[in-house]
């Protein structure tokens, strides 16, 4: 009997599955939609669960944070003297206002009244000075925690409310680095129980599983509508989608279009961009990629729009150089179409370079980033047309970091490169020769010279000239085909119906302070 029950159960299962199959995409799609919409629990008005794809860093101390995923979440907990806005501006946060001296070397901050840490202590000038000095510390040959702080000559509290930062030389983008978190001076549990001044306070963490935040009722600004936010870790985006459907999650960022398409009417899918430069990054130092003609041939072989359409369902924004549109000031749209697909030209260039029959190319891709894997698959197909026999080599993130990024032992890779701060320098310095993070081994004397000049101009505070130079740098990268630039990936955020107020930022953060039940 039991055998039959089991068999019957299985038969039902298969029938159900097959009927879903026969029903075609529209029918099964709407079934999924209805059931999600009809039966799923409406989120309690003030607490939500957010899916994230990886665990946070071991230490939650924001000054020691290295991973973008950790910064993304902890953006809700920490603030600097200034903080970024969704429009890409900087507004005062822990400071209530600031002044910059005419020569651009002296920054004077007035602390905001009534800003307290999550542990109840008021923010004092000592805390500010300590936080900045900690990140500027370059003792014993260490590199300072915040690179831009190497420009700092001194940090002083001139009275109870005022902090003065003096720079060695002026630097027009310096303010952006002051988004660095202000932390309480005499508190030594920052790594495990972080305390900041942001709209949410840290409650608890279960390593590898979840992080719980709670509204900080003592927040100086507008208090968040949500009381509890739990970040839950799902290594697989597919599992995340199932969890959204089952009601276990309310909000999820960075979904692929395929994943977002699984969600029915119960969700609103917001479209933004990831704010990164996705490209087929080329190791400019290895054969045959050290030949400009070969790199240009690759650029001509690729159809960006098709990559965007096939791998991203048309959600990405095409790019032509190492800058993305969120840098409204510096972004040079004219290089986007520097190369348009031209197979004949690509073949000619390859022939000139001595590869009339193409060559073998290995594309190393971090396996945990599905969009990059998808993009690489489309590229392999496109490169076939010019005889380039590309092969994908999937590696896990650790291997990628050590082999590709640190040892630079690779041919080409598809990844997204972003900026850790809202400065053009953060995007462009990477390609100066000899720079530690120049993982593509780009070495171009003209580029180095332009960048050096940009530094000087930045010091002189000449903003218009700086913009001009940054655009020239972008053009240099495009003209020399440093990499096969593709797109700023689309960022799809699924939000359960009934929640709104999610805002995109030009940097990689997830701001939940504005989210509320509608």
């Amino acid at each position: 009997m039991k055998q039959r029950i089991l068999a019957g159960f299985l038969a039902t299962l298969l029938c159900a599955a097959l009927s879903g199959c026969g029903g075609g995409s529209s029918a099964s799609g709407s079934t999924g939609g209805q059931s999600t919409g009809g039966n799923s629990p409406v989120p309690a008005a003030d607490s939500i669960t957010v899916g994230i794809s990886q665990d946070l860093d071991e230490s939650l101390d924001p000054h020691l944070t290295v991973s973008a995923g950790t910064r993304e979440v902890m953006f809700n907990v920490f603030e600097g003297l200034v903080k970024p806005t969704p429009d890409g501006d900087l507004i005062d946060a822990v400071a209530s206002h600031h002044e910059v001296s005419a020569d651009g070397t002296v920054y004077t901050f007035t602390l905001r009244e009534g800003v307290t840490f999550h542990n109840g202590a008021a923010v004092s000038v000592d805390d500010v000075v300590w936080s900045i000095e900690r990140c500027a510390d370059a003792d014993e040959g260490k590199s300072p925690l915040v690179e831009a702080f190497s420009a700092i000559q001194s940090v002083k509290a001139t009275d109870e409310k005022t902090v003065v930062i003096t720079l060695n030389t002026a630097e027009s983008e310096f303010l952006a680095s002051l988004t660095t978190a202000i932390l309480p001076k005499d508190y030594d549990a920052q790594a495990t129980a972080p305390v900041g001044t942001g709209p949410f306070k840290f409650i608890s963490r279960v390593a590898g599983d979840s992080i719980a935040l709670e509204r900080f009722d003592g927040y100086w600004g507008e208090k968040p509508a949500l009381k509890n936010v739990t970040f839950k870790i799902f290594e697989s985006g597919d599992a995340m989608v199932l969890a959204l459907q089952s009601g276990a999650l309310d909000l999820c960022a960075h979904l692929t279009p395929t994943q977002a398409a699984q969600l029915g009417d119960g969700f609103q899918v917001l479209n933004g961009t990831m704010n990164l430069v996705q490209a087929l990054y080329l190791n400019n130092a290895v054969k045959p990629l050290d030949d400009l003609r070969v790199r240009q041939a690759l650029c001509y072989a690729v159809d960006k729009q098709q990559v965007i359409d096939l791998a991203g369902d048309g959600t990405g924004k095409p790019l032509g150089s190492s800058m993305y549109p969120a840098f409204a000031k510096y972004f040079d749209d004219s290089v986007t179409d520097y190369y348009t697909q031209n197979l004949e030209k690509a073949k000619t260039l390859l022939a000139e370079a001595g590869y009339p029959n193409g060559f073998d190319l290995t594309i190393t891709v971090p396996s945990n980033y599905q969009p990059h894997v998808d993009t690489a698959q489309v590229l392999v197909e496109q490169l076939k047309a010019v005889g380039v026999n590309a092969k994908i080599e999937l590696v896990d993130w650790s291997t990628w970091v050590s082999r590709v990024y640190t040892d630079r032992n690779y041919q080409s890779t598809v990844v997204g490169v972003d900026a850790s701060s809202m400065t053009g320098r953060a995007m462009l310095e990477r390609f100066t020769s000899g720079y530690g993070k120049n993982f593509v081994n780009y070495a171009n004397a003209e580029y180095d010279a332009l960048f050096k000049q940009a530094q000087l101009v930045s010091g002189a505070g000449d903003d218009a000239e700086l913009v001009n130079l940054y655009k020239q740098l972008q053009e240099n990268l495009a003209a020399n085909a440093a990499n096969v630039y593709l797109q700023d990936l689309g960022d799809l955020v699924a939000v359960r119906a009934g929640l709104d107020g999610y805002r995109f930022y030009p940097i990689y953060v997830m701001d939940l302070s504005g989210v509320k039940a509608g």
Binding site: C21, S25, T258, A261, L310, V373, V378
Partner: protein, 277 residues
């Protein structure tokens, strides 16, 4: 009791035939897939994404507009190749080691069985990951790795089979007639262990299919766009709502492959007890 045995044999024969038919059809498809597929399995067509099964696309298309039937054919070939290779390597060396240790026994036997224990106790996922890290995750590397991992289980089965026959009459008489060890082992004993070894091979094949599928399901095996059935299933899991046929077709293929070979194994076992690899 006799009738029962007969019945068992009769339907075991039926099993064997049914298994051969299923496996034969699958094998034919796989061989076909090796030389010809209805579409280029990696060619992408932006206008034909996520189509449900139809006469133009038997199993529908995936999110890149690739023909799933063609991909499943190639994937099944990948999986079958890895599983077959695994059984070949594991079966050959395993049987050899098992035969020697089972027949001779002694300290080497003890040591090898201890080593066996260690390998069996080592989590296979970690073993696979390490090997993949060292050798790479191409299909031949995975084949080699799984083959080595499967040696102990075959060795164990074969050791038991040979040890049981060590003192059998026909072995002793062969020995008395002055036959060499190699001759005794492979001419006299081996044919008499086949009723245990052959089913063990089919079970081994199925375990290899499962192991390969699990590994590629976890992304430890194969490089896209080349995909085994497990990799296809893992990809399909993410689009179960919009394209359920994808998961059903790729998963169904795994089930069919194991089912067919399983039936053959069942048929091979002529009711003389059971050994599990």
């Amino acid at each position: 009791m006799k009738t029962l045995q007969k019945a068992v044999r009769a339907h075991r024969n039926a099993c064997f035939i049914a298994g051969c038919i299923i496996t034969g059809v699958l094998l034919a498809l796989i061989l076909l897939g090796a030389v010809w597929t209805p579409y280029d399995p990696t060619a992408m067509r932006g206008s034909e994404t996520l189509l449900p099964p139809s006469f133009t696309h038997l199993f529908g298309t995936d999110n890149f507009g690739r023909d799933i039937f063609s991909r499943v054919l190639k994937g099944a070939g990948f999986t079958a190749l890895v599983a077959g290779g695994t059984v070949a390597i594991g079966g050959l060396f395993g049987t050899l080691i098992g035969a020697l240790t089972g027949y001779f026994g002694g300290a080497v036997d003890e040591a090898l069985m201890r080593l066996n224990d260690t390998i069996t106790a080592f989590p296979s996922i970690l073993l696979a990951l390490v090997c993949v890290a060292v050798f790479g995750s191409g299909k031949y590397q995975v084949l080699l790795v799984l083959g080595i991992v499967f040696i102990p289980s075959f060795a164990r089965v074969s050791r038991t089979a040979f040890a049981a026959l060590r003192d059998a009459n026909f072995v002793q008489s062969a020995r008395l007639m002055g036959a060499g060890s190699a001759r005794i082992l492979f001419v006299h004993m081996l044919p008499n262990t086949l009723h245990i070894l052959l089913p063990a091979l089919t079970i081994g094949f199925n375990n290899a299919v499962l192991a390969e599928a699990s590994m590629s399901f976890l992304g430890l095996c194969g490089q896209p766009p080349e995909a085994s059935l497990g990799a296809l299933l893992s990809e399909a899991q993410g689009m179960f709502v919009t394209a359920p046929w994808y998961a059903l077709c790729s998963g169904g293929m795994i089930v069919a492959l194991i089912f067919g070979v399983g039936l053959i194994g069942e048929g091979l076992q002529d009711g003389r007890g059971d050994r599990n690899a």
